[in-house]
Subunit: 216 residues, 2 copies
DNA sequence: CACGAACCGTACCGTACGGTACTTATCGAG
DNA sequence: CTCGATAAGTACCGTACGGTACGGTTCGTG
């Protein structure tokens, strides 16, 4: 655990990281409109000139913010021991819960809103970054888990991507979109424990090889 | 078919509808940044003063655009005849395909991007409108279908919302989000026929009462 | 024809933002 | 102590946008 993965580490100095932190807070609180260069400079007690020196322009700042946030959300890779049906279920439920926690995080929501808002202008550069550094990372974790489960003959599927897509859909459904749209989420939908278990239950009923793995 | 549902009809004159059409085209082509009042006026050959007289302000224009688009996407309610397993499957597959078509439409994508981008500023007013006039309409159609299927003892579930959530997740997965982010969608993911069938297949395996309904 | 309503085109105003330049202050190296 | 680098703070510039005002034109109505 706590593997020294420097691949997606932030490439900036502590001071610059602090600035990025302020910028993220600003974005979370006020949306993209509040994220002005003057506002960031004021919130971070730095000069606009430094912002431009460090990040080039506003888009550079946005990219740096995404990279910085991605470097903070580290994906745990605790994956030791042999897989049996019960353990697989536990790991999947944990994955589902982690996924929901990440997607529901206010910083994640704010950055996704930002990237979606800019998707039409910048050729979806920010969208690619988010996808590459965010979903794709957590997707690898699920993919590895699913592969291990298949090798252990606990699940059966032909196309790993398709299986992961099903897993994702069962877990998230349209909750992410509704959160992105700012809809108030009901208490029931906020119950990630139950949601994760329900989703994994359904997933194992679809893909599990052993009826025990789907027993409630 | 073609029922005269005036409930979600557009409340504007033909001329104003034409203006809204131009505005939607502008939004689709250039994103929110391109949707300036001057730009809309120029594209629609009308004056800015008329825009403000008709729609109040920029937000009023955005709301009107959403209402206008919702009034165009009419949900077919062809639901006659008795349900059997095969017909239910057909109807569900059709629903899934329609849902994917709607979500993948460029106008829908542009409006969703717009609403998501404004979610932090305006108290998600636009998000609510989209949700109310869009998803909730198509959700009713699916809900009615699922209820009918349950009465016909073709499917079994306790919570209709939960069943619909599962159905939605199986159909859409994260495809909508990826499209919103501007990610290029692979040819495989664009194969809505196959995707719809796979999703309904899985759904019926989860909720169907008869094994025949899940037979491939 | 005369009148008024609706509306187009354009000019205009205030403001806010991205980006740049300049001045001042801190601080480590020689 | 001096020098140079880094960066804060501020003032500034150009532009673009939301919103308003006004002159001119069309068109329906009496």
């Amino acid at each position: 655990m706590q593997i020294a993965v420097h691949s997606n580490q932030s490439d900036y100095s502590p001071r610059q990281n602090a600035v990025l932190d302020s910028a993220l807070r600003l974005l979370v609180d006020g949306g993209e409109k509040a994220l002005t260069t003057a506002g960031v400079a004021r919130a971070a007690n730095c000069s606009k000139e430094s912002l431009y020196k460090w990040f080039g322009d506003r888009d550079g700042l946005l990219s740096a913010m995404i990279g910085f946030q991605a470097s903070k959300v580290r994906t745990f890779e605790a994956h030791a021991g042999r897989l049996d049906a019960a353990r697989l279920r536990d790991l999947l439920v944990t994955f589902a819960h982690d996924l929901l926690d990440v997607l529901a995080g206010d910083v994640s929501l704010a950055l996704n809103r930002l990237a979606i808002g800019q998707a039409s202008r910048d050729g979806s550069k920010l969208g690619h970054m988010l996808q590459e550094r965010g979903r794709s990372q957590i997707g690898k974790r699920a993919g590895a888990l699913l592969e291990a489960a298949r090798r252990a003959r606990l699940v059966r599927f032909d196309d790993a991507d398709e299986a992961y897509g099903t897993l994702y859909g069962l877990i998230v459904s349209d909750l992410h979109l509704r959160m992105l749209l700012g809809e108030p989420i009901s208490a029931k939908d906020r119950n990630f424990d139950r949601r994760a278990e329900k989703a994994i239950d359904a997933f194992l009923r679809l893909y599990g090889t052993d009826e025990n793995s789907a027993a409630s």
